[in-house]
Amino acid sequence: MTALDTPPAAGAASPSRGGSRLRNVLKARETGILLALLAFLAVTTAINPRFVFSTDGFRDLFLTPSILVVLAVGQAMVIITRNVDLSVGSILGLTAYLAGRLFLDTGLPILVVVLVAVLAGAVLGLVNGLLVAFARVPALVITLGTLYVYRGIYLQWAGSDRINASDIPDGLLSFGTSSLLGIPQLAIVSFVVLALAAYWMRTSRGGRELYAIGSDPAAATLYGLKDKQRILTAFAASGALAGLAGILYVSRYGTISSGVGLGIELEAVGAAVIGGVAIFGGSGTVVGAAIGAYLLTSIDRGLPILGIPDFWQRAVVGLLILGAIVLDKVLAERQHTKLLAERHRS
């Protein structure tokens, strides 16, 4: 699903629709990042074929990014509205621990626990949304605050407690390690989330309004859009997805200590930005963010194979983020000047 929302159809007066569509696909920001991902995979595989062509390698290719993909999708929805959600790592940790406690202390069926965790995430996200929409304080500050608040609640609640794999139902653990037709189940979950989010962002009024609000908040008010409600939706969605990611974490690792999800919010923001979601809102897609998540995790896994020392990995990720932002800025400027110049010629 290449959800090309408002592709930069610059010279758009094209005679053939089909031709312009193909050009749009090629020009889309997502295509570039996808090519970068494929190139990286190709190089790494050429050096060590086991990276992709072993059973473990192939499984990890899809399994490792699945949690980050879910977070990046939520993050993209928030960033598109010209906001940011830094609290998702804490929400992930808190909901993972909540799920663990429910398994440990109650006999609730797995599905109910999953629903409770997702709902709890949504509520925590809603708190973010309410603060951002009504307190008129930038989301960066608000969610930095809730990052610490949620983490604090988690630490207070869990203490030095630790939930072990033996406390988690086998059904959930085996879900985290099994595959369907060679694709890990967790990855399938992330694909479903991605597909639903991409479809909603593209075809619903709500989704389009997220873009509008991020593109020009003042214009959104003049248009009479329900901007507060939409921002609440975006944050609640991001929280709910963080809750789901918490469950995926439990399913994959089984062990829940107080450090769960520490720092992953920055990876989610990084994935979205690398995937072409403009940090100032209004453009980019959740698909791009997901590809960004794949690129980030693949690099994490691949750099040791390329013989690049561990401690350089973070620097490489940082360079990628900087590169993506600079590229975005340059492309946007060029596009803007081009459109202006066109207007003056005509």
Partner: protein, 518 residues
């Protein structure tokens, strides 16, 4: 619905509507009654309360008092969405579009056609966009992003929005301010079509030829209050002007005689692709040069480039013979340039800082001793300037953001005058300033010129340009289309040049000799 055909209930009626923002009264008593099938002109000076009234009609502001009736029924819109749903479309002075989204999405945002599963029907949306553009007879690609559209095209999109809404009342807030001749014709045709279809149109404009050409009824506002309503056929332009100014126009612009000296500012071949091309202009000592043109003609962009805030690709700027490097406002200031920006709240002031600190912002280096700057020294200097410009404020530690527009402008002027500039560039000197303070600002500019300063004044208000300038340079779409002496500059000659698309209209360089009419 009491609107049977032929009924005498106005489509939209406002009576004694009031609105204040804090202590500032924006609308004292706004009244207006617009019939269906009529084009109703609303005229008044800037700051007369027209835009506030428009925003109340649009549901953006809520009124403090008075009544608003839509098709005979009292309404109180709480949001623009409610007003829209009722059938009121508003085209704002400055179009507000989503730059990242396509033209089609901009047209339908918030009310996109959906299929039976509630999904947006893109095909239907695009088809309707194309149908509307065909009906309007314009050629805009519905798939292109709104970013980079000319103001005229953005206006067309606003009108297309109103059309697709099937509005019963259409308010146009200075829609023609930025349009050229045939674009205005196109807009007026559309307005007439809407009127004939039974729509009530409110048309706000400063151009009386358009008003008298297009409208059937005219309402005048002054200082936030209703003045009069007449059939257009019953009044003359002079009569209307007298009413909206409230006094004779001749004493508005106190222009002093000044000796014209040597060239202080010399701009040659200034070019920045997409914004302005090959701009030449000179400002001499003692001279006020008006830079006229429509909104979006590139006037402010030229000023910003000259001062070094924005880059330029080619050309040269000299102050008193010395070259001003591009993109270096600090050197520009040192060489004697000063720029009073258009948007004083955003670019001219630190709103959260006291007046004293604002006034000394540009001279801090000179005022500090050993790297330290005391409030006492700051306030002493600031007080002197505030007194000279008659800034009305309780004390030097009053926050700049709490002042009225006129006093804020004086603070910005004080800041720049304290740097003792040779050339003062001033962008929209009296925008959003009440009538009394306006003439104070004009008197000040005039006396500065008389003292030998060169002044480049950008203004969208034609009377201001004609009343103050010794020479008028007109830009249109980023090109200089005319340079007129004070004697040659008439409303007609300036507007012709401002709307001619660089075909060499207006007078050529041969007519740039300075003649003094005052």
């Amino acid at each position: 619905m009491p609107t049977t055909p032929g009924s005498t209930v106005p489509a939209l009626r406002l009576a004694e509507v009031t609105k204040s923002f804090g202590s500032v009264v924006a609308l004292r008593s706004g009244s207006l009654a617009v019939d269906a099938g009529s084009i109703h002109a609303l005229v008044g000076e800037n700051g007369a309360g027209k835009s506030t009234m428009v925003k109340i009609i649009a549901g953006l502001y809520r009124r403090d008092g008075g009544t608003v009736e839509f098709q005979g029924q009292e309404v109180d819109f709480r949001s623009t969405a409610e007003a829209k749903a009722a059938g009121i479309a508003v085209i704002y002075q400055e179009p507000t579009l989503f730059p990242d989204l396509s033209v089609t999405e901009n047209l339908f945002m918030g009310r996109q056609p959906t299929n039976r599963w509630g999904r947006i029907d893109r095909r239907a949306m695009r088809a309707e966009a194309e149908a509307i553009f065909t009906r309007l007879g314009v050629d805009i690609d519905p798939d292109r992003p709104a970013d980079g559209l000319s103001i005229a095209d953005q206006q067309i999109i606003e009108i297309a929005k109103a059309l697709s809404l099937d509005a019963r009342v259409l308010v146009m807030d200075e829609p023609t301010a930025a349009l050229s001749g045939n674009e205005v014709d196109r807009l007026m045709t559309v307005a007439r079509t809407l009127r004939d279809a039974g729509c009530a149109v409110v048309f706000i404009s400063h151009r009386f030829d358009e008003v008298f050409d297009l409208c059937d009824t005219i309402t005048v506002m002054r200082d936030g209050a209703y003045v009069s309503t007449d059939a257009v056929a019953d009044v003359t332009v002079d009569e209307i002007v007298r009413r909206l100014v409230g006094r004779e126009v001749s004493d508005l612009y106190p222009k002093q005689h000044a000796e014209i000296g040597e060239v202080l500012l010399e701009v040659t071949g200034l070019t920045q692709p997409g914004l302005f091309t090959d701009i030449d202009l000179t400002v001499r000592a003692g001279e006020i040069v008006g830079l006229a043109g429509l909104v979006g003609a590139g006037r402010s962009e030229v000023a910003q480039a000259v001062f070094g805030v924005d880059p330029y690709a080619a050309g040269e700027v000299r102050v008193a013979g010395e070259r001003v490097p591009p993109r270096d406002p600090v050197t520009a200031m040192d060489l004697g340039l000063a720029l009073v920006p258009e948007d004083r709240r955003r670019h001219g002031l630190v709103l959260d800082a006291p007046i004293g600190r604002n006034i000394t912002l540009a001279t801090r280096g000179r005022l500090s001793r050993g790297g330290l700057l005391t409030s006492r020294r700051e306030n002493a200097t600031a007080k002197e300037w505030a007194a000279r410009l008659e800034v009305k404020a309780a004390a030097m530690d009053t926050l700049a953001g709490t002042l009225s527009g006129g006093n804020q402008q004086k603070v910005v002027l004080a800041k720049w005058l304290s740097t003792a500039p040779k050339v003062l560039i001033i962008d929209e000197p009296t925008r959003g300033i009440d009538v009394g303070t306006k003439s104070e600002v004009h008197r000040l500019l005039s006396s500065l010129a008389a003292d030998g300063m060169g002044i480049l004044m950008i203004s969208s208000e034609l009377p201001e340009v004609l009343g103050m300038a010794d020479r008028v340079v007109v830009l249109c779409e980023g090109r200089k289309t005319a340079e007129l002496s004070r004697a040659e500059a008439t409303p007609e000659s300036v507007m012709t040049a401002a709307t001619s698309t660089a075909t060499g209209a207006g007078s050529g360089p041969g007519s740039t000799e300075m003649e003094h009419a005052s």
